[in-house]
Symmetry: C2
Amino acid sequence: MASPGSGFWSFRSEDGSGDPENSGTARAWCQVAQKFTGGIGNKLCALLYGDAEKPAESGGSQPPRATSQKAACACNCNQKPCSCPKADVNYALLHATDLLPACDGERPTLAFLQDVMDILLQYVVKSFDRSTKVIDFHYPNELLQEYNWELADQPQNLEEILMHCQTTLKYAIKTGHPRYFNQLSTGLDMVGLAADWLTSTANTNMFTYEIAPVFVLLEYVTLKKMREIIGWPGGSGDGIFSPGGAISNMYAMLIARFKMFPEVKEKGMAAVPRLIAFTSEHSHFSLKKGAAALGIGTDSVILIKCDERGKMIPSDLERRILEVKQKGFVPFLVSATAGTTVYGAFDPLLAVADICKKYKIWMHVDAAWGGGLLMSRKHKWKLSGVERANSVTWNPHKMMGVPLQCSALLVREEGLMQSCNQMHASYLFQQDKHYDLSYDTGDKALQCGRHVDVFKLWLMWRAKGTTGFEAHIDKCLELAEYLYNIIKNREGYEMVFDGKPQHTNVCFWYVPPSLRVLDNNEERMSRLSKVAPVIKARMMEYGTTMVSYQPLGDKVNFFRMVISNPAATHQDIDFLIEEIERLGQDL
Amino acid sequence: MASPGSGFWSFRSEDGSGDPENSGTARAWCQVAQKFTGGIGNKLCALLYGDAEKPAESGGSQPPRATSQKAACACNCNQKPCSCPKADVNYALLHATDLLPACDGERPTLAFLQDVMDILLQYVVKSFDRSTKVIDFHYPNELLQEYNWELADQPQNLEEILMHCQTTLKYAIKTGHPRYFNQLSTGLDMVGLAADWLTSTANTNMFTYEIAPVFVLLEYVTLKKMREIIGWPGGSGDGIFSPGGAISNMYAMLIARFKMFPEVKEKGMAAVPRLIAFTSEHSHFSLKKGAAALGIGTDSVILIKCDERGKMIPSDLERRILEVKQKGFVPFLVSATAGTTVYGAFDPLLAVADICKKYKIWMHVDAAWGGGLLMSRKHKWKLSGVERANSVTWNPHKMMGVPLQCSALLVREEGLMQSCNQMHASYLFQQDKHYDLSYDTGDKALQCGRHVDVFKLWLMWRAKGTTGFEAHIDKCLELAEYLYNIIKNREGYEMVFDGKPQHTNVCFWYVPPSLRVLDNNEERMSRLSKVAPVIKARMMEYGTTMVSYQPLGDKVNFFRMVISNPAATHQDIDFLIEEIERLGQDL
């Protein structure tokens, strides 16, 4: 059984399952590690070349378990007694109560946090190693039974706590792995990660300048910069980092309603006419969720038709607006999408803006997924017209690779958020404090406490520069085009829509040989709909890669490939294609 | 100028501003550090005893600035050329693009992340050091000008990035400091911190089991345990971790409305009668924010009178319910508070439950602040009746010391959240996946992506056990009682309400000598109202401690002391009193 600190994060290249190249990598790694600080160097080398305590396992399939065979001490060397720095830190005898703020807690605290860090660093390194699995999949019931996750009255010792950290990461998805393509948010940025660790350590919230002076200023600076990039003059306007795109979209709907009918804040929806929101049939479901929550009702969200590429059809929007007005209802919001979830489509924002202007409707742009393209001189034209929006959702945690969560809502009119949400709670926002209270952001939020989400974006921006984000975006879009070019004419593939992808979404069916001979009838559709789920299940069981699939409208299950991970390369795209064919050819 | 890695986090005991005890601490520290891994040991010692590169500064008041005088390499030793492990990692020449996933990125990545970690560990250690400032206060305009925070096109090198980390922490509030009492959330738990670092590293979200298998299971296990503690049979029911108490309360309101009028989801508020919510005049402002957002309107939130201790008066609740019903409106929610923000009052839950039962109204308990007391056998009676609630907000990030954000909404009826919020987006929640889909939590949330907030609570719970949380709670309440006993009869203090505090909130006026001789008239009130703001401003400028103040109703500005930080001791309470008197005696 592995003791904590010695890792069971074995490098697969050493147990024969990796390719020869990786064995070399491991060796090179060890040379690197040995030059590094003692703690991590020794551990990494032990991992790379194996050590006596390491269990005979393959690919990490053996779950670690709490064991009665306690490690004697935190150091992992073979000399007993040893003179290692942590020689007398015995985690089996230590508990949380021995850590700071305990008297004499400094030493075990530093040892413990450093060991946690070593576990994390090992995980980071493995995340980028193509010879490791993306996922070590277990069914929910299996996973519940394989390990004791229950909470008890009595404390566990720090050895057990370190073990839990290892186990948790063992079963985690390596979302930074170069072959993880499952979500719109992928990748693991090293500066962003460092910034998130710092955020955790600072452990405060965005409520007031008083308790988050730097973070409040960084939010101010960063939101202003984002508004400049959107194209609002001088970066003027307002905004907030919210817990995610769905909440950002809900904010937009809330503010749009308040702008038109401020009395709704006090009197509720009963005091106003029936309000109607418009968004495309390919838009994100959060618009409907928001409408349900805000008392508008999902029936009052009208889904506008899309063309075959998933873009909203402006003439249909105008037709539906007129229809609604004729009924005496009030159109109050159009939410255009810049980068739809499945197709990656960009609604024609200029045409939408013209219609919103004509009918005096709040124009929101849900650029949660597509906003990142504003950083690219080559691709930002796809969002032309965004500068005419009244509000924009833009999630840096998606295309820009910022760690989760990082979603911004930008609002063109300053002060509106504050008027909409403030409750004048003088016991929370004292008006006689000694600094400029305009920096207290708490009362413009729906939330009271609010997590610090800005620092990781800000630090990444300093580290990459706008040009660095641009390079990242351009590279991911180039990779998507590479994939598109390979499969568009390849046997066994059918594109869900024609033409080059506008975002990194590449949507396709893989058609196994047995289906290629069939006529395009219902039976074929029915069989085709089962192909992607089976291939996906096999991908997860092998753990080699992950990509999403879904049906949409009358289109049966197809793969939706997205690329936001800067670790991905042409070879990873090639690998994905080979893997789909390997796992699907017998279907 | 300090180079990154060498810290400007000087120990004040060494520059003469600390007490002698701390000088000894520093020396002991160094002995500890020297036994520790090379990197941090050397750095900590350099900090403790000073080094050639350290600027002559006092108390960290000198902001670090980007400098043209680059450090030659990441190592900090004085031997040139040296043989240190990081001797040839030159951050001034490295950029984010040199880190993983770059080829040969492993070594600079490990060096960089380790150096970030060293900065964080130094901050952690300083956070618990009473000789350091709680805050190095600067006015917003000052802070904006003292450092260049702007975002640019071009990248900065890693030396600059490390500098930004140091600068950010320099100006941060030490929320873990034993003398930081400003918010309901204070303290820095070492296991919680480790868990939050791990959460950042795993970088996923709670959307589906597919992408967060362990975290989804831990949420399941933890919420069930919390429901058991609330007293729902077998821990049955439902729940979710949300981005904070305000959102949790909004969820409760949303679900209560849906339970009574499910058609509101599709048809909006126009389709239902006027709905009325009830909460006490001391309750949190998020109830009103939620009502405004949900289209109910703040006029439909009726504030029930409180007794002099801040507890809701049940007879007034019943009176107002009858009044509303007579008008033909529909009472749909009573939100009782267990632990009000200012007084720490517990509404009489049993009496409220009886009324809710009688009139068939959803009973919500906002135990964001008071929920922690459920972990204490000595104090949980204060929440008697919570088991009769339909929903409960409980923020482990407050009284239980879990790092921000960690707020749970617990719901007694299973399946209701799902019915209320689900949108059946088949493109997001594929129904033909190969595992038990009941573990996919995404569609019961208002959010789409959702941050992983459970792991830090879960790991802390394993490390402390329920009994550890109990000890923490009991200790904080004992400290509050200690403070109360000191000041209740002390000259110059007046209690805002009589009697022992029920939570850790101790509310009082400090009356400077010049006011003690005045009659209790308007002039005295007016002068008294200015005392707390001035003392608070002075506290922040000296940086010695932080405690909140506010007016409430007809009561002018008073201090609200709260204790949730396990680092605080009797001596820190004594210090607070001395400090208030030192800073306020001339007023």
